[in-house]
Structures are given as structure tokens and as C-alpha cells.
């Protein structure tokens, strides 16, 4: 039954064992180079973003590499979240918000009229700081976006629901109460449900906006492990204030800072390099200040 459902979703699944300690039944790692041969998946050129008269982001140019985890770090209010939401054009929903510059996802300019924003968002999953399960049942939370995408057959949706709940390690905890309200879950469970909901659309990219900061330390640890497990299968961009966490899970780090009343990108590089031999003195001060 379980095997069958996996087959349904990922027929290419050769019996490759999941990465890590085996706590989660993750699918196989995506084939190809992981991070040593960086291939840009998201290319951001000269992105500026304004809320009314206030500039939140100023001229950011940054490549996000396929299959890697990129952490966005920096103090509050330096535009990390704005950067994240402009990748899936969630900024369109904020009144008075204007972006300039170019963002290409897999080579396509997302601001071009040929780009269907709904399809774009289906390819890019997003997880918010506060868990935001819909006030409906656990299974319905995952079904809603699937229906939207045209996956309506009961057997298909059931298989995907089981698969993604297994992926986030929630299946054994909720298998008996899939029809209970999602609001009855604990904070950590809710956040994992939100991740599962994003995974159900089988996205290429996952955007995570401080996914652990509203959770208690234990739940936070579980979610962090989970994110580590997702490396390779998805391209992940994560905003975090927890530098230790960024160090543990990220391949790349981008350091943002507020300069001249607007957020700017100060430095981007391998996680190790950012933390151990930062090129910019602001980065060094931030990384050391928090560490020391």
C-alpha cells in the first residue's frame, strides 16, 4: 500500500534509501551535483522593492543554486522577508508594494506576461513564520491546493496526502485523525503540516520564512532536521535569525543589512566562508557579535 502510493507519485523511485537517519521515508536524492557545481535556479538581478515611499530592498543581485539550501541572515527589517515574497510574487497582494528589477526562475522572467503567477506559485512552495493551517481538517488542508491543480481523484489525493505526511514525519502522529481539525495539532505539527501542504504540489523550490522561530525548541529541532532532509530534492531558501541553525543546515548564506534606510545584500557565499572568513566587516561584526 505504502510502496504503491510512492510508486504512484514518483515512478522513478529506484530502491535508493532515503538520506539521513531513516526517521523519515524520504524519496531519493535528486540526481546531479549538489552544490559543488552550482547551477543557478533563481537569478535575481537588481531587485528593488518599495512599500509606498519607503524602500525596503535596494538593488539586490543574487543567484540561488539548484538543490542547495540558501540561508538569508541579517537583522530584523533588512528586507529578507520581502526578498522571499518577491520570488513567488506574493508581494503582488500587498497594497502599495512595487518591485523593479528582474527575477528569473529556471530561465523564465516571472514578471513577464507569459508567466502564469498561479502556476509559478504552484512550483514554489512557501512556509511562513507562524504556522498557517487552514481552519479545516488535516487532509482537507492538503486536498485544497491539489484540487486547484486538477488532481481530484480520491485515490490520487489520498496517496499524495499519505506520501507528504510521511515525508514530514507526521503520518504516524495523525493517521487516525486525518479528518480532525488542523487547528487541533500542536504548533510543531501545524508547521510540519504546512510544509507537507507545500510539498504536495511537488514544487521545485521551497521558500521558508523563519519556519522555526514560532516553535518551542523541541519542535524547532524536529522541523530543522526535516529541512535538512529535504536538501537535494528541493531548492530551499530559508530566512532565519538563528545563526547556529543557518550554519547547521545551509550550503550558502546571504547576509542582508540595513544601509541608508533600505535593505541591501552585503555578502553572499558558501556558508562556511560567511561564518569563518567573512569578507565584509559588517558580516564579521554580525556573525561574531551574535556568536560571541
Amino acid at each position: 500500500m505504502h510502496g504503491g502510493s510512492e510508486q504512484l507519485r514518483r515512478p522513478a523511485s529506484e530502491k535508493t534509501p532515503g538520506k539521513g537517519d531513516g526517521a523519515y521515508t524520504l524519496g531519493p536524492m535528486q540526481a546531479g551535483p549538489v552544490c559543488c557545481d552550482p547551477q543557478p535556479l533563481i537569478q535575481v538581478d537588481n531587485l528593488s522593492l518599495r512599500y509606498g515611499a519607503k524602500t525596503a530592498l535596494d538593488n539586490v543581485t543574487l543567484d540561488i543554486y539548484r538543490g542547495c539550501i540558501t540561508a538569508l541572515i541579517g537583522p530584523s527589517g533588512c528586507g529578507k522577508t520581502s526578498f522571499l515574497s518577491s520570488i513567488n510574487r506574493l508581494t503582488d497582494l500587498i497594497p502599495g508594494c512595487r518591485t523593479t528589477g528582474r527575477i528569473r526562475v529556471d530561465g523564465c522572467d516571472i514578471h513577464e506576461s507569459a508567466c502564469d503567477v498561479q502556476a509559478l506559485r504552484q512550483r514554489i512552495g512557501m512556509v511562513f513564520q507562524k504556522p498557517t493551517p487552514f481552519p479545516v481538517s488535516i487532509s482537507r488542508n492538503i486536498e485544497l491546493p491539489l484540487h486547484e491543480r486538477g488532481i481530484k481523484r480520491r485515490a490520487d489525493t489520498a496517496a499524495i496526502i499519505e506520501q507528504v505526511l510521511r515525508d514530514v514525519g507526521l503520518w504516524d502522529e495523525v493517521r487516525d485523525r486525518l479528518h480532525a481539525s488542523a487547528l487541533s495539532l500542536s504548533g510543531g505539527q501545524q508547521q510540519r503540516l504546512c510544509i507537507a501542504r507545500a510539498l504536495a504540489l511537488n514544487p521545485q523550490i521551497l521558500l521558508m520564512d523563519e519556519p522555526c522561530s514560532a516553535l518551542d525548541p523541541i519542535a524547532s529541532g524536529i522541523v530543522e532536521d526535516l529541512i535538512g532532509q529535504l536538501r537535494g530534492r528541493y531548492t530551499i531558501v530559508i530566512v532565519t535569525h538563528n545563526l547556529a541553525q543557518a550554519r547547521r543546515i545551509a550550503n550558502y548564506a546571504a547576509f542582508f543589512w540595513v544601509g541608508g534606510h533600505a535593505g541591501r545584500l552585503v555578502e553572499f557565499g558558501h556558508c562556511r566562508q560567511i561564518f569563518e572568513s567573512p569578507a565584509h566587516e559588517l558580516t564579521a561584526a554580525y556573525v561574531n557579535g551574535v556568536r560571541g
Partner: protein, 289 residues
């Protein structure tokens, strides 16, 4: 402590006096409420029986019951809701989800609904008579009365619906958009269900308002107290029945009392249900935080 008393005593006396006045005012309001209710109950309960509820009125309402009148009341209400609900909730959805709070169209709609909410019911009666009864040729009928009521209910349905939708946290909208769900799906599968208690409370308030209405129906649905055969027949609602018995029929007081008791009981139940819904809804909003 003793030395502070002289300094404060004037303030304390004023404080006591204000408190006393406010308690007396509150007591008077309560007393008036109890007085009205007890008068209606005392006058009506003796005359009330099952046969009063189902029989047809005889002798201009002095004897017999209110069966056909209850039927007309329900029919008028159904016509009003059928017309007003889709219109009201669609407008609410537009105002809350599709236009920004300060757009010209949105504020024009909101302003005219505000005006509509303030229009006296007798003016609705005049309009209904001129437009539905005469211009559209519906005559004195349940249909024309129901449509007139629908105009009156629109503002309530829109404002409660809009408030309910706006109370749904924005996080739901953002997550739904991030999942690539269209606005239509989001609205129907997520936002409207989440706002359902408030929609239901608005519905109940609207029903209460409709059942209580008299002046708007006087020259639209008419006075005829026979069992209506179709929606184009004239039908007398309960509120008009009370009015007619007490003003135009001498010796109709007992029936009027009993009818008033029926009306007021129905309205109290509807209003209490609406309060329960809003209270429960506010509680539920707080809990998941």
C-alpha cells in the same frame, strides 16, 4: 488615612451621586423591558393555544387563529431572503476581497448601503408600492412585499458579511496564494466557510428585522388574511395583523396580545441565537492563538 478625607470628600460625593444615577438609569431600562414583556405575556398567554396557531382568523381576527398569517409571514420572508442573500453576500465578498478599502467603487457601494440602512421603513413602503406593486405590476402581493423587504435587508447582510470576511486572518489568504490557489477557490473553499458563523449571525439578524417589519409591508403585501394561494396573492404578515387588530378592530385585543406574544417569542429566539453565534465565533477566533 484620615487627613486625606477632607481633601477628597467633594469628589467622593460626586462619585457616589454619579454611581447612584447610573444604577437608577440602568434599573429603569431593565424595569421597562420587564414591564413590556410581562404585559405581553400576561395578555397573550391565556389566548394562546395550538388551534390559535393553525386556525384561520374569523370575525376580522377577533376569533379563530393566525394560521394563514403565519404562512404569509414565512412566504414573505422566503421571498426576501431568496432575493437578498445572493446579492448581499456577493456584494460583501466584493467589498472585502476584491476591491481595496479606499477604492472609489468600493466606497461608493459602501456609502449607498449606509444610506440604505438609514432609510425609514415607511419610505421603503412608498418605494415598494410605486416600483414593485405598480411599475412592475405585481400589485399587492407577497412577491412585492418580499422584494421590498429584500431591499431593507441588503445593508445588514452586506455589513455582517463584509465584517466576517475581514475578520478572517490575512495569513490564510497569503498561504492560499503561496499554494497557487486562485482567488475564487480561496473565497469559496476557505474564506466563506471561515466566515460562516458571522454570515449566519447576519442572516438571523436579517430574519429578525424582516419578521418585525410592518410599515414597509402596509402597501406592498397588503392586508388580506386568507391563506395565500400563490406568491402573487396578497398576504398579511404577523406584524400587520397585530397592527390591524389593535387599531382597526374593536375587541381584537386578546388576539392581538396572543399574536404579539408569538411574534416576540420568535424574535427573542432568533436574536438570542444570533448572539450565541457571534459570541461563539469571537471565542473561537481567540482560542487558536
Amino acid at each position: 488615612m484620615a487627613e486625606t478625607v477632607p481633601v477628597k470628600s467633594a469628589g467622593i460625593h460626586r462619585d457616589r451621586f454619579a454611581q447612584l444615577t447610573i444604577y437608577i438609569a440602568a434599573f429603569m431600562v431593565c424595569a421597562a423591558f420587564v414591564w413590556i414583556l410581562s404585559d405581553i405575556v400576561r395578555g397573550g398567554v391565556a389566548h394562546l393555544s395550538w388551534s390559535f396557531l393553525v386556525d384561520a382568523p374569523r370575525d376580522a381576527g377577533r376569533a379563530g387563529g393566525i394560521g394563514p398569517i403565519l404562512v404569509s409571514t414565512v412566504l414573505v420572508l422566503l421571498v426576501a431572503l431568496t432575493a437578498a442573500l445572493p446579492l448581499g453576500w456577493m456584494t460583501a465578498a466584493l467589498l472585502a476581497e476584491y476591491v481595496s478599502a479606499d477604492s472609489t467603487f468600493g466606497s461608493a457601494v459602501r456609502y449607498s448601503l449606509q444610506v440604505l440602512a438609514g432609510v425609514p421603513s415607511i419610505v421603503f413602503g412608498l418605494f415598494g408600492n410605486a416600483f414593485f406593486s405598480i411599475y412592475l405590476g405585481m400589485g399587492f402581493s407577497i412577491l412585492s412585499g418580499g422584494l421590498t423587504l429584500a431591499c431593507m435587508l441588503l445593508p445588514i447582510l452586506v455589513s455582517t458579511g463584509e465584517a466576517g470576511l475581514r475578520a478572517v486572518p490575512d495569513a490564510y489568504r497569503l498561504s492560499a496564494a503561496a499554494l497557487g490557489m486562485s482567488r475564487k477557490t480561496t473565497l469559496f473553499h476557505l474564506l466563506l466557510p471561515a466566515a460562516a458563523p458571522s454570515l449566519a449571525a447576519g442572516l438571523l439578524l436579517g430574519i429578525g428585522r424582516a419578521v418585525a417589519e410592518t410599515a414597509a409591508l402596509l402597501f406592498t403585501s397588503g392586508y388580506v388574511d386568507r391563506m395565500p394561494g400563490s406568491l402573487l396573492d396578497s398576504g398579511r404578515t404577523l406584524a400587520i395583523h397585530i397592527f390591524d387588530l389593535s387599531m382597526n378592530v374593536s375587541g381584537g385585543d386578546a388576539s392581538a396580545h396572543a399574536s404579539a406574544l408569538v411574534l416576540i417569542t420568535a424574535l427573542l429566539l432568533i436574536n438570542i441565537a444570533a448572539m450565541r453565534l457571534t459570541a461563539g465565533w469571537q471565542r473561537r477566533k481567540i482560542v487558536p492563538e
